[in-house]
């Protein structure tokens, strides 16, 4: 598998994955300049540490992990956004939804979430990651991913519902998960 397959060249990596990395970065930051900067920093790190990738088939996840780690590092001293740990998980089946999602409203809602809820949501919808892949990406148990996704989707749905001002605003949570300390993609052997 991996050792038999050559790694793509940097040119190929840019041509094949730049759009993916930029879009992920944009959804994390909500800002086109920051997203491009994040994408550029990711490629510079890949160029420097590409030899650390052992499994070419894991390339896409590896690249996205680097984007996320660079993003986390850049945001270490900023505000956290909203955590949803105290919101109940939905207990009823999703009702029908018959209106298109407003792009700006979606991005605004994403930015209101703390990163540990935002990232799985983006990966789930945008990249069709499985729960296991998201768990690997975020280095948390799969149950945590499922719980966060469930809460985040509930929040998103309320936030995107016309006229609803997110009445059940979940409280901020003070303690921090270990997400901010994960830098492994930059040092994986």
């Amino acid at each position: 598998m991996a050792d038999g397959m050559p790694l793509p060249t940097m040119d190929q990596l840019i041509e094949q994955h730049a759009a993916l990395l930029y879009r992920y970065a944009y959804r994390l930051t909500g800002n086109s300049h920051e997203a491009e900067d994040l994408t550029q920093q990711t490629y510079l790190l890949v160029q420097q540490r590409g030899h650390q990738l052992r499994d070419v088939q894991a390339l896409r996840g590896w690249l996205l992990t680097i984007v996320r780690n660079v993003f986390l590092k850049s945001r270490r001293h900023r505000g956290r956004g909203r955590s949803l740990d105290d919101i109940d998980e939905p207990t009823v089946a999703e009702e029908s939804w018959d209106s298109p999602v407003d792009r700006e409203q979606l991005q605004q809602a994403l930015l209101e979430l703390s990163e540990e809820f935002r990232s799985p949501l983006v990966l789930y919808y945008f990249e069709d990651f499985s729960y296991q892949q998201i768990a690997d990406h975020m280095e948390v148990p799969i149950g945590t991913v499922m719980s966060r996704l469930s809460r985040a989707k509930t929040f998103l749905k309320k936030r995107l519902t016309a006229g609803e001002e997110c009445a059940a605003t979940p409280p901020l949570r003070a303690n921090r998960s270990k997400v901010l300390t994960t830098r492994t993609a930059l040092s994986h052997g």
Binding site: A19, T39, Y124
Partner: protein, 226 residues
Amino acid sequence: MRDDLSPPASAARSRFDSEVALAMSDVPLPVGLTGRLHTAVKASPVQPSGDATAARRANHWPGRLMLSGSVALVLFAAWSWLGPRAAALTDADVQRLAELDLSSLPADPSGTRIAIPAGWQSLPGMELGGQPVIVQDDTLSVPVRPLTFRANRHGRRVTGLLLALPESRWFSHIEATSLSDPEVRYTATGTWAIWREGKTIFVCVLRADPRVLEALQLAASGREVS
């Protein structure tokens, strides 16, 4: 809550999921993005990953094992001797420094003097903070010199910072040898110039658009700034 572990792109996906997925991937790409990435990567003189693959294949595992052990020993010795201060800084670190409020940080207790670039003692418009401050957390410890720069008498005073690092503390090799032709990074928070003078890497961050950096370059070259 979903209890399957498969990707969500299935027929069972709800209308809401489909609409969000559609909106989520609807991010327009900036014109010229890949071109700028190619340029940035080519400007960075690090071995491309494709070459690294070839090098990796050429290694046999016993040799790699010995090499890994040796590297681990050297790294451990270096860590024991120097601690986290020896960590090389990357663009991401500078980005983080650029976002800090330096006025809230303590002065560097070691009293280390930060070298300044040639000619900056009398550089018009440049005011260097007298005492370096120390930025320190679990991964980084670096003295930083705050600065302000005003391009001309009527210009706006912009803030920034100066780093002077031994070349071993910068993550990549820097070719540029003067502020007149530095490596430049453009970010949402400002503009940086990176260059080397001898064995010292200077990083000058200006929290302003690129025109202010151009004015600084003009000032450093001794030309008038209008």
